[in-house]
Symmetry: C2
Subunit: 200 residues, 2 copies
């Protein structure tokens, strides 16, 4: 009678796979992520992931959803009203976004790659929408305070978030031509905020 060297059922393989996948992603990028390696890591046969994910892409999609959920949480915290002016609040939001991207570059890349696939599952798009729902809220409040020009907040915030996201894509290694992203973000946001001021 052995002390259960390894139970037949893992218990929570789906979760464990996602966690291990996230770890692998951070360590060696998406290229180093193989179902077989994950299985080995979890001490499970190499076909067991198939019980939880139809194929590798399904796992990656699930991971992308998780990513957007985490990003959503980060954004929600950063978007909280603390009595600052619009510029400060938007800058904090942008910095949170950039911070997440720089902390989890491979994951961040995966999220948008997954989202751009023609057959991206609806849950993924929903998760993405969720994370991107915070900037418009900040803009709406800015409008209410008379700090921002009138117009659809979603449309206005799109430009700002696009600039921040694009900065990430164009930059390399957290900087652009030697200037750290953090500084560039603040600069760009300030210029944007200036352009968004109501023209009396």
């Amino acid at each position: 009678m052995k002390a259960s060297p390894r139970p037949y059922h893992h218990g929570n393989l789906r979760e464990a796979l996602l966690e291990a996948a996230a770890r692998a992603l951070e360590t060696g990028g998406v290229g180093s992520l193989t179902l077989r390696e994950l299985s080995r890591e979890l001490g499970v046969s190499h076909t067991s992931p198939r019980r939880h994910f139809a194929d590798k892409q399904a796992l990656l999609d699930a991971l992308a959803v998780r990513g957007f959920e985490r990003l959503d949480a980060v954004m929600a915290r950063a978007a909280k009203d603390r009595g600052e002016d619009f510029n400060a609040r938007l800058t904090r939001l942008a910095r949170a976004y950039v911070g997440f991207a720089l902390k989890h570059p491979a994951w961040f890349g995966l999220m948008f790659e997954a989202k751009h696939r023609a057959d991206a599952p609806p849950v993924l798009l929903d998760a993405s929408d969720g994370a991107f729902a915070h900037p418009p809220a900040v803009f709406a409040q800015g409008q209410a305070a008379g700090e921002v020009v009138v117009g659809d907040p979603a449309r206005l915030s799109l430009g700002a978030m696009a600039a921040v996201h694009g900065l990430l894509s164009i930059s390399t290694n957290g900087q652009f031509k030697g200037i750290p992203l953090d500084r560039l973000v603040a600069e760009i946001i300030e210029r944007l905020v200036w352009g968004l001021r109501p023209r009396e």
Copy 2:
């Protein structure tokens, strides 16, 4: 004596591989690109690509360089001075950028993915820098004409290009929430240009 059913040497395999790879990229995305399939297509043994590219990544990098060169050409044409004002010129440049990205989505994606790899070859970074050298030139001219606030043109143009690029990343299928990118680009550029006006 046979009419050379197939010559032993291909003659220009390196070029042919890059062209076939570009075609495969457009058809089925980067996932459908395999060295063996390329070889089959060109009627060549499955190991011959190794004579020209150390490994698959080297071929992808070369393809990315080609992409930046084409983007450079597109940008150069769009950045040409035609006597318009700054807003019109910047809008044309931005539209050219977006046009390229939407026309070759997989290629475009590959270009930036390759560029973001930690061990990206210098040629790649140079090619990228080349394509991104046009916006600063347009900004500099805008400054000379008194249409743009003073400051480092490279730094100022970065914000604009970041916004355009980010718009591409955030959008899906050439639109965002049903609004076509072309319209959003014009909108965002106009707002940016407004914010960039010299404050007298």
